[in-house]
Symmetry: C2
Subunit: 393 residues, 2 copies
Amino acid sequence: MRDVYIIGAGMTKFGRAGDWTLIDVLEYAAAQALKDADLKDDIESVFVANMGAGLLNHLSGVGSAMVDRLCLWPATAETVENGPASGGSAVKVGTMAVGSGAVDTALVIGGEVMRSVTGWEATDFVATLSHPEAEYIYGVTLPSLAGMFARLYMDKYGITPEHLAMVAIKNHQNAMKNPNAHIQQTVSMEGLLHRPEAVVNNPYVAEPLRMFDCCPVSDGAAAVILCTKEIAEKSGKPMVRVAGFGQATDTHAVHERKDPTELTAVRLAAERAFGMAGRKPADVDVAELHDAFTILEIAESEEAGFFDKGTGHIALENGETRPDGRLPINVSGGLKARGHPVGATGVAQVVEIAWQLAGKAGERQLDDPRVGFTCNFGGFGNNVLCFVFEREG
Amino acid sequence: MRDVYIIGAGMTKFGRAGDWTLIDVLEYAAAQALKDADLKDDIESVFVANMGAGLLNHLSGVGSAMVDRLCLWPATAETVENGPASGGSAVKVGTMAVGSGAVDTALVIGGEVMRSVTGWEATDFVATLSHPEAEYIYGVTLPSLAGMFARLYMDKYGITPEHLAMVAIKNHQNAMKNPNAHIQQTVSMEGLLHRPEAVVNNPYVAEPLRMFDCCPVSDGAAAVILCTKEIAEKSGKPMVRVAGFGQATDTHAVHERKDPTELTAVRLAAERAFGMAGRKPADVDVAELHDAFTILEIAESEEAGFFDKGTGHIALENGETRPDGRLPINVSGGLKARGHPVGATGVAQVVEIAWQLAGKAGERQLDDPRVGFTCNFGGFGNNVLCFVFEREG
């Protein structure tokens, strides 16, 4: 496969789209990425990551609609759906499109407008990715799966509610420096767990997970522009390469897994991404993990190989994953505080890493990171994509 | 890009899925293709083509669900949506996946279960791909766009209602030899147009298009297995190569096109596919065109380069597109009679060509075709994919 580079990135503020339609938010993110890339060559292909156009917005053919909205005819276009990992999937497909030589440029846009429906409809919408006969019809939702996972994981490794809260506290703090974050509010251990009013302000959603252990329901979009080495070099911009990607699936129904505390698909996807990149976890300077629930950041940080199994919460407690730590995780605020417009998330993770590696992350810029990593978690771990990115030169 | 081959193909009978869910029909088609391929290597990736999982079936993550149903973990999986051209898009993405070197094998499954809703809901469902603000809200549907197109096209080139009926007559006749066709019923010029009861039996849907000018609403699925040259050679099966693919978009709203009788995206997509294959239209021995409406078979046969603009209906009248003609078109029965489960169609076209080139088309097998062509028409011509396939050896 030819080398593939990121030469443009952009996103909307995550949160409430208001009067903006799905097409509007996708357009805004794409326009930001196009402006960032300042591309002289044509965009030859468009890949839109989205999960709910049909279920929430009564739309189809959104890929073609974006070509039209951006006046990119006759660029090719597709919509790629893979639940909350749609974004990672679209970045992968775009990378293969450029990598294969089929096209020299690809615009990948991920977006979702999901606050147009009520809270329970949004929860039902996301639950459509669970097993239709073995989970969905019994009322299993993503928070309930995460709750059961958290209970087993906490019991097994001695993780406390305080550890979960540490993820939220860190990521809310990080989001304060991200103007695109949905939630810009710091939270404290006292407020989340120890003050008497915590039972009201931070109620259980799916015990042991409380409200602040869960990501918000967000609208928004993010976009990246992928291209060949030649085009990237011509641009004179920092050379950020898609060094490796890996993907793996697991059983659809969570109860069919031998050990439900193992996120096998995360481990495999990360191994494959590192293998393709010729890198190891210790090489990574900055990572964006899929913290749709606080427990997932801890578990993924272990399965991806950054910490031994069962020690992620210790590393967190020691501050190793803070922006000033050994491996900053979710400097953007993560899904927890940047927000989680499902189709956008996988692309937004790549946008954050592209910005960090290119030195464009503003107030939250880390000190010269060279290797970045993303983990986009679909279903309840039944389809996961990991990427390794490197800045050259 | 590495060469990519088709070593397995399968499909359900198109028509009514009855109690079968979308997952069931996709599984059946995939199982047929896997049996046909008799593959010793693992399936490394799955691409599902589907348009209505969200809008009609309250499902998401169908790609991951198929990996699970077929026990193909940890194979990668995505759903690819591009309206009625979803099938062509998924075959393209699968070809890029194998062609790029990312994987050695890809299972591409296209399917739709759309008879679970009423007729007007199915029409509304397909109309979700029209322009949301410029077409959909004014009640424009695909049959109405096709009706307006047909009127202009017929006026411009002197095409009569009899010419349209000839497409239906030929394709219904062809479908009599296709056990997977939805409609197995011959029709005659007399019955369609000239008997007094034709006004009742073949009423206008969108004048000048009558009921028998429109494809039926069908359920069904089709699947192909793509692989590297090495794996194809090892299989000892006929070597059917994806010689070229091309895709192009056009304006979303049809009225924005300079000349609405030009299907620019078809012309461009065909040119690109022939260019990649190093072939020309005259080399093609068998073609599957997207006859969702009879007029489209005529127009596409011209835009693809098989006949001069404005002469497709003459070639049809002269029998050149019959199975015994110079260029057999829609030997399978086409969308008109094989049926049109939207997500399945682009894959079913490839299945028919793969079978014809491999000598597996049963009663409707043509005499040793070597080069095949497909045209999968999305939106009302705003996203079109064409492929050229060749049998080697």
